[in-house]
Assembly symmetry: C2
Homo-oligomer: 351 residues x 2
């Protein structure tokens, strides 16, 4: 049976997430929109279709292109294709493409229609659902963006067959993060018990992983769609550490790997703060290690200044203080500041 | 007594509109926000304050600067002033500044706080309330924008004392338009009976005009905050004609004058379509003429192609058809397409 569910966001906006099996079924589903559409691809995602629709733009791949220039290209091309406010923008690609297509759609004549077709594991379990749109700006990741949920998200895990290994691991980082945010531990156990089959990308199993991971994410989003109550920000588990590391390294590390590392740091911080017991801390670290993430990585002492300054730019700072998502058990996140010395001890290698 | 009212928009967002008397009271009200603010001025509005706050940007004046370059400057300066998501952007100026400050605020870290201080009549009765933000792009007026209502709008009609005559008439164009959208005719009669005192900018009377005009506008917005039900688009009375004229003339005509002219065209179209009787049509035209608007203006036959192509770009086109707001009486707008020949007969001078 086809998996499908709906998510209610701010102001009653609905996102319907539908799973389709193969690329042919995906093309069929998209053709139901008929002609009033505008596709946004990158060079990688464009290769998944046998032919590129006429009303479309194909952008170069990579986070480095998630900028205002690409945003302008999308809007300009949409205009020259005769798009109106009732045109459906279809973001077809990974997180960079989906974030930018969604931002362009939210800005085009103050809001066109939007469908997202995530083609990477990271985008399926992260960027495609929840309404966050963005570009990077002046060195700030996702500094410019809007809240604008897609009406439809179409997922075919068949698009993952050709995904390179690094990209796949990148997405798994977010999946594993979601496992720490499930109170009943079901996703945690599922990942622990099926490690080899998931790493082998078995189709049905992958769909289940994506579906379960999205359900976890959605349970947080629905309780706080605009990230105003502090609940949605729990999804940032590991991200404050991760963003600072990514920024420090000039984004030369994949987001998922950085997140897995950040989750490791958050587990350790929670253990240090005595909110997490030793066995939960250790079994958490083991799961991350089982999936091949380097949770023992530390930055060099000489990089600390750079790391600290990147932390300062973190969007979650409020009243000037950076707050970290910590855990007091599986599925029990909370927000807490950490003093400078503690953060330093968590991320810098011992002399 | 101080006038004040609240407006509920999409998703329960609230805008509080407060009237304060003089510039000193305005400064006092703003100082209550303390230090976590970022001001956006233009060269004109900056002159209204005795000193410019440190965390601010002063942009060059004029619609020609309502572009992506200015938007980038606002966001860049906000970032360098250390603004975070909980920083309050304060748009202090006319429609160009308020539209851009609001768009920047909606995009900054996916949405900072927002107060608007409209300093022109047009902005007081139009751009400052209702959540529409925008810049012009690739020749399309307001082509790029979002829906993002200010939490606070602060109005002091004392800022209108130094407004030049053309700008004042520009705002009155929207006020008069609102008079045609009030079912009980109260604003229509008020404008008819107090023409000389309003044109003489008598303070208390002006505040009443702004307040009543805003209440009309808000009654439409509240019933359709995201412009999805066709109700809010009734506020575009006269605007389809006006936008095409403005675009054809390269924005060398003021928005309010274009709107007053467009309202005249809509009255005539309604009369032609037999939805408006002769006496309502004539008393409507008289009010526009009483306030000095040239409703008899027609474009030259050689300009028709340009005008028609500008109409085609109209955002309100849906499924390819441009719909016009017409009237079947005071306060009784409806949407209707008009055939090419009719539009031509309404806007082109006879041979």
């Amino acid at each position: 049976m086809e998996r499908k569910f709906s998510l209610t966001l701010s102001g009653g906006a609905q996102t319907t997430v539908s799973f389709v099996k193969g690329l042919e079924e995906l093309t069929d589903a998209l053709s139901s929109y008929q002609d009033n559409v505008f596709y946004v691809f990158d060079e990688n995602s464009a290769r998944l279709l046998s032919s590129i629709p006429e009303k479309s733009i194909v952008l170069p791949s990579g986070e480095v292109n998630k900028n205002i220039g690409s945003l302008e290209k999308i809007i300009g091309k949409a205009l020259s294709c005769g798009s109106a406010r009732d045109t459906r923008f279809i973001g077809f690609g990974g997180g960079v493409i989906c974030d930018m297509a969604a931002l362009a759609s939210s800005l085009y004549m103050r809001g066109a229609k939007l469908t997202l077709v995530p083609t990477t594991l990271l985008c399926m379990v992260d960027a495609s659902v929840g309404g966050k749109t963005a570009i990077d700006y002046l060195g700030g990741k996702n500094l410019v963006g809007t809240f604008y949920p897609a009406q439809e998200v179409l997922i075919s895990t068949a698009t993952l067959e050709t995904l390179d290994g690094k990209e796949f691991m990148c997405g798994l980082g977010e999946v594993v993060k979601h496992a720490f945010l499930t109170e009943d531990g079901s996703l945690f156990d599922f990942l622990k018990d099926n490690r080899d089959r998931i790493m082998g990308r078995e189709g049905d199993l992958l769909e289940e992983v994506v579906y379960d991971s999205l359900r976890v994410k959605c349970s947080y989003i629905e309780r706080d769609p605009l990230e105003k109550k502090g609940i949605r920000s729990f999804l940032n588990l590991g991200h404050t550490f991760a963003h600072a590391l990514e920024s420090m390294k000039g984004y030369a590390i994949s987001h998922g790997e950085a997140v897995a590392w950040g989750v490791g740091r958050a587990l350790e911080a929670s253990y240090l703060m005595k909110s997490l017991d030793k066995s939960a801390y250790e079994s958490g670290l083991s799961l991350l290690e089982d999936y091949g993430y380097d949770v023992s990585y530390r930055i060099e002492p000489s990089s600390w200044t750079l790391f600290e300054s990147a932390l300062g730019k973190d969007k979650k700072k409020s009243g000037g203080h950076v707050k970290f998502v910590l855990l007091e058990g599986l599925g029990k996140p909370y927000l807490s500041p950490l003093d400078e010395e503690t953060v330093r001890s968590l991320v810098v290698e011992s002399a």
